[in-house]
């Protein structure tokens, strides 16, 4: 069975129900959710031949009807024409109302109804304009239809109608509509703003698919409209473009980074912001700014509003992702500063140099970002920036000696950053591999620890109660106890068996060595005889030397090991001493063993 098919999903969901992971109700809901995909896939299947021929025939019939009507159109009276137009409009409006009544907003049917409504408005208005002809202004006609189509975008939550609206705006702009309309370019931005609240409507409906379409369509429309509008202006409004681009980018950053509809805002914003900065690297762009005669109120007002929006978003919504937005927010600030310089007749090379340097900074930043995992797009963007800068220098300006110096600096920065990133990457890989080891199961960790212990263990097996931590020199031990050398059980001729044997045989004479240190923590207690303690007092040192039974064994072992493990760093006068002669072991009974009546 193929994976990710409806059949496979059915099988899996049934399996989950049988395992008791989900309820029957949940299964039905899940099946319902992927039923749409099934419809979509069936819709995308190739159309049969007869359906294709039917569509072709239907189109031919419609063409013939239109041709016939056009021959008779002159004889249709004006009232009849207007009645027909009114009925057509009413039918499409009724369709919209019915879809609203049935609460089919945001469905495929609603998209179709919205499209038919838009088409109806275009047809009806064309009929009226042709009948009562006072001049055919295509731009005015299209913008009127666009405005009349906008409400259906909201009524039916239709992105298809939004596309119609945006395309109409673009046509209007391309045909020079804003030039001859009251408000000019300001009206264009106002009309674009009218579609913005649709974003909040979609957010309220939690319709991710339409949100994505909305963000892509609106972002593309805004920048194309800007480009078309800029064609008619006497200078390149790159300050306005930069401000608009950064505002759109900040809108993108205000959206959760994991949501798909934030991507076009962020990336188109970045591209346009860098584009505006690139334009400001070219001398002719500043010539245009310097030659502007009048004060452009609309442009300046829009720019100020965009700056306010940027400040608001930076302080309120763009908090977590600071660096990248902050770097791009500097672009309109730089452009504004440079514009003020130029408009104040302080025209010099400062704007060109400042813009060039900052675009290099951005290029380096984006390239450096690109070395991070899953940030390859930033690397490509950084490369595009550098290529664009080089092309701008070569074709857009006269060759300057600054260019090779700048190129060398850029290359050095890139190499430096590349090496740094590689080093960081290597360190991160090592760290990650270490962390990966920690992620193993408890059993694996235990095995690893056991292996490591085997590797670290000396040839002579340590006793089970050996604990390295406990062998550290204890600061709390009395000074006189530090000099005590306690022989190991081996030195005493007590193997494990010996200890056991001695414990068995001499249990009354010696304290037994605990078999398990955890079960019975070793406590060294001196049993002082109850009687004649003063007369029979034996210095502790002497007693302990001779009475090995009562001394914790780990202390003895540690001293032995410490001597073996730590080589002399400097030559000590004691290092030439002859080793202490092996003492003869005397297993004498402790003088305390006969006292107190504890043992015989």
């Amino acid at each position: 069975m193929r994976r990710n098919t409806n059949e496979w999903l059915d099988h899996k969901v049934t399996d989950w129900v049988s395992k008791g992971w989900i309820t029957e109700e949940a299964r039905e809901k899940i099946r319902k959710s992927y039923g749409r995909d099934e419809q979509r896939t069936s819709f995308l299947t190739p159309l049969p031949l007869y359906a294709f021929l039917s569509a072709l025939g239907f189109a031919a019939v419609v063409m013939a009807v239109i041709w016939g009507l056009s021959q008779l159109w002159y004889y249709v009276s004006v009232p009849a024409r207007m009645t027909l137009a009114g009925v057509l409009l009413l039918v499409t409006q009724a369709g919209v109302g019915l879809a609203m009544f049935q609460k089919r907003q945001g469905s495929a049917a609603a998209e179709g109804i919205a499209l038919v409504h838009c088409l109806g408005i275009f047809v009806v208005l064309a009929m009226a304009e042709q009948t009562f002809y006072i001049g055919w202004d295509a731009a005015s006609y299209v913008i009127t239809c666009a405005v009349l189509c906008l409400p259906v975008v909201y009524f039916l939550c239709s992105v298809a109608a939004l596309v119609v609206y945006d395309l109409s705006l673009l046509y209007w702009t391309a045909s020079g509509g804003p030039v001859n309309t009251f408000g000019g370019m300001g009206l264009l931005w106002l009309l674009l703003l009218l579609a913005v609240p649709f974003y909040n409507t979609l957010i309220g409906l939690r319709d991710e698919r339409r949100l994505s379409v909305f963000s892509w369509v609106m972002t593309i429309t805004v920048f194309i409209a800007f480009g078309l509008a800029a064609q008619t202006t006497e200078y390149i409004p790159f300050l306005l473009l930069g401000s608009l681009a950064v505002t759109i980018m900040l809108v993108g950053y205000s959206i959760d980074i994991h949501q798909s509809w934030g991507v076009p805002f962020r990336w188109f914003g970045r591209f346009a912001a860098v584009g505006s900065l690139l334009i400001s690297c070219l001398p002719f762009a500043w010539d245009g700014i310097a030659q502007v005669q009048n004060f452009h109120w609309t442009t300046d007002l829009v720019t100020v509003l965009l700056f306010v929006s940027m400040a608001g978003m930076m302080t309120k919504t763009v908090k977590k992702r600071l660096w990248s937005p902050a770097l791009y927010v500097v672009i309109p600030v730089i452009l504004a500063f440079e514009t003020i310089l130029v408009r104040s007749a302080l025209y010099s090379s400062i704007p060109l140099i400042l813009s060039s340097l900052y675009i290099v900074v951005l290029g380096v930043y984006e390239t450096a970002q690109g070395f991070k995992p899953d940030h390859q797009a930033h690397l490509k963007f950084g490369i595009v920036i550098f290529v664009s800068v080089v092309l701008a220098f070569v074709f857009g300006t006269h060759f300057s000696p600054l260019a090779p110096i700048l190129a060398i600096i850029v290359l050095a920065l890139i190499v430096f950053q590349f090496r740094r990133m590689q080093k960081d990457k290597k360190t991160a890989t090592q760290r990650a591999s270490r962390r990966a080891k920690l992620r193993h199961s408890a059993a694996r960790v235990r095995n690893d620890d056991a292996l490591a212990a085997e590797e670290q263990a000396p040839e002579e097996e340590l006793p089970v109660w050996y604990s390295p931590e406990e062998n550290k020199p204890d600061e709390t031990v009395e000074e006189w106890m530090k000099d005590v050398r306690i022989p190991s059980p081996a030195e005493l001729g007590l193997g494990e068996s010996g200890i056991e044997a001695s414990s068995d045989t001499n249990s009354s004479k010696a304290g037994s060595v605990p078999a398990n240190t955890t079960d019975s923590p070793m406590v060294f207690t001196l049993s002082v005889p109850a009687e004649s303690t003063e007369n029979d007092f034996v210095p502790p040192r002497q007693v302990i030397r001779e009475t090995t039974e009562a001394v914790p064994q780990q202390m003895a072992v540690s001293q032995e090991k410490a001597k073996e493990k730590s080589p002399a760093v400097t030559e000590s006068p004691w290092s030439h001493m002859k080793p202490e002669p092996k003492r003869k072991k005397h297993f004498t009974q402790s003088p305390w063993s006969h006292q107190g009546g504890k043992s015989e």
Partner: protein, 224 residues
């Protein structure tokens, strides 16, 4: 899942489930019908209230895939002096100042990017070209509704025929009332007998005896 709007302080949205949605829908329906009605009313208003002018014109057949119910009207006097200092751009909307000459025909006084201050009448037009202080323009009212079978009469027009379009102008917008060839309506152009009679009468009259298409009483007096 978190859906946070980009501008948290701004809550501009329209909910399709809102309480006032039917009220808004009703309002939109009315606006759409009003837009349709406005187109008709605008034409009627110009046709009734507009100031009548007579302007030389040339009818042309319109070529279209599906055929048309009108003929294209070209106004030969489409070039005038540009009155502003800043040269216009192609496609820009301009205002053409108009008046009447001694014969009662419309006279183009000049063109500007703004409406004439003197209160004289004007036409709204679009710049076709500009050169050496003279601008070529095109007015919007360039169609005349004519039956398709009558449109073929245009082929019988002669170069010496006097073709006058009767138009009405109001606030820059215009409507063509009728087109007259030697005083004969364009609809009767196919009627050879009527056209011959009109041409003979025209040849027998001197230039100053030529009657105007409209009575002088219809022409409003010149404003001071």
């Amino acid at each position: 899942m978190k859906f946070s709007p980009p501008l948290q302080g701004i809550h501009l949205s329209f909910s399709p489930e809102g309480r006032h949605r039917w009220l808004v829908f009703g309002l939109v329906v009315l606006i759409q019908f009003a837009a349709l009605a406005y187109v008709g009313w605008r034409w009627h208003n110009i046709y009734v209230d507009g100031i009548p002018y007579q302007w030389r014109a040339v009818p042309r057949l319109e070529i279209s895939t599906f055929g048309t119910d009108y003929v294209r009207v070209v106004f030969p006097e489409d070039t005038t002096q540009w009155l502003d200092e800043t040269p216009p751009e192609v496609g820009q909307q301009i205002y053409v100042a108009i008046s009447r000459d001694a014969s009662g025909l419309m006279k183009v006084e000049g063109a500007s990017a703004s409406k004439p201050d003197s209160g004289s009448d004007y036409m709204r037009a679009e710049v076709v070209s500009y050169e050496d202080g003279r601008v070529q323009f095109q007015v919007g009212f360039d169609r005349y509704r004519l039956s398709p079978e009558m449109a073929d009469g245009i082929y019988s027009l002669r170069t010496d025929d006097s073709i006058i379009a009767s138009i009405r102008i109001k606030r820059g917008e215009g409507v063509i009332e009728g087109i007259f060839v030697n005083g004969v309506p364009l609809e009767q152009l196919s009627n050879a007998a009527v056209m011959d009679k009109a041409r003979a009468e025209k040849a027998g009259r001197s230039l100053f005896d030529r009657p105007h298409l409209v009575d002088s009483g219809m022409v409003p007096p010149k404003e001071e």
